[in-house]
Amino acid sequence: MGTKINHISYFLPSKTLSNEELSVEFSDHTPEQIFKKTGVKTRTHTTPDQIGSDMAFLAAEKLFLDSSLNKQDIGFLVYVTEGLDYKAPATAGILQDRLRLPLNIGAIDVPLGCSGFTHALGISKMIIESGQADNVLLLFGDTPSFVSHPKDFVLRSLFSDAGAAIWVGKSDNNSIGNFIYGSDGSGAKNLFVDQSSTRNPLDHKWLDNNDDANGMLYGQMKMDGLEIFTFSLKRVPLLVNDILEKNKLSIEDIDLFVFHQASNIILKSIQRKLKIPDDRMAYYLEDFGNTVSISIPIALSESIKEGRVKKGSKVLVAGFGIGYSWSGTVLYY
């Protein structure tokens, strides 16, 4: 018995932010420089009336239209986000109701970011291969734009909001390989949403100080770019080697490397360090930006559409970042 990704659907909000628009706000950067730095041309931004779970809901509706998944056959729902609807109850339960899914399903939230997709995929494999459900619905919705300060050029030039829905099901062949997971909370403060919850709730002073930024009501993402860069440069090659070893494969066996689309320079540096040829490396930053946990689903979906992934392809997927947290596996198509 095995597990398989049967279908991926994603949703992008309609509002976009171009390099031309950014360079008007940040006049010391030309559109060309912004593209050179980030590898991004367009980012998608949502609005407060369409939050993460709304985008996950819309992606799920699309999944039901585009695939043969029957709602009655779903046994478990996992919602991955860093922007939950409420502190309680779980947003996954709210999505169960909104999507009119059966009552006899498990529904949990996984509040992870850049490593969210690969962790959630591992969780689906655990659920399915331990015989607890035959079909798992993975939902994703992330809204980094809500926690990016309007004057923070680095965050605003990189991140995008998006949603995704993935149907993972039982299959005769094992299409999802063995997983590697990792966590290192000592890096928590290097990518961090400040004043966002119980440990440090927002207060009057915060609201006053952020008066010019609409109060930064959802908290503020703070990134030490240098630390995140060196973490990625050190950790991801080790992660890739561990994934290959655990799946008894070598780097030459992999047809496509789909990493979390962190930023152009991070991906380029990892590619160079691992000596991955250009045609076997996925870059989907240009039209999408860094969509947090949705970046690997989008990249997979696009590479399938482009014919870069076909029957017989071996695809290594690896998520890494905020936490620090990292995970990955090999997908056999």
Binding site: L226, E227, F229, T230, L233, K234, K268
Partner: protein, 82 residues
Amino acid sequence: MCIFNIVKIEDLIEKLEEEFEEIEVGSIKPETEFTDFENWGSMHALIIIALIDMEYDVTLTGHDLKKMRTVQDLFGIINEQA
């Protein structure tokens, strides 16, 4: 740990000149300051971290970057750690 000094400053300069296309070959000297590089910014710092990691297996930290002003300083840090 290396028992003898294998990194030569000429090699480092050559690698930096290769890395930054906009820099003319022969224009970097040991005493060249990084802020003299055209459009010097955080992006260049990341490129240097990646280059030194690849070529010399030394991971520069934010602290290293803050204390290095010239190419000679960078050379010193690499030799301390290589």
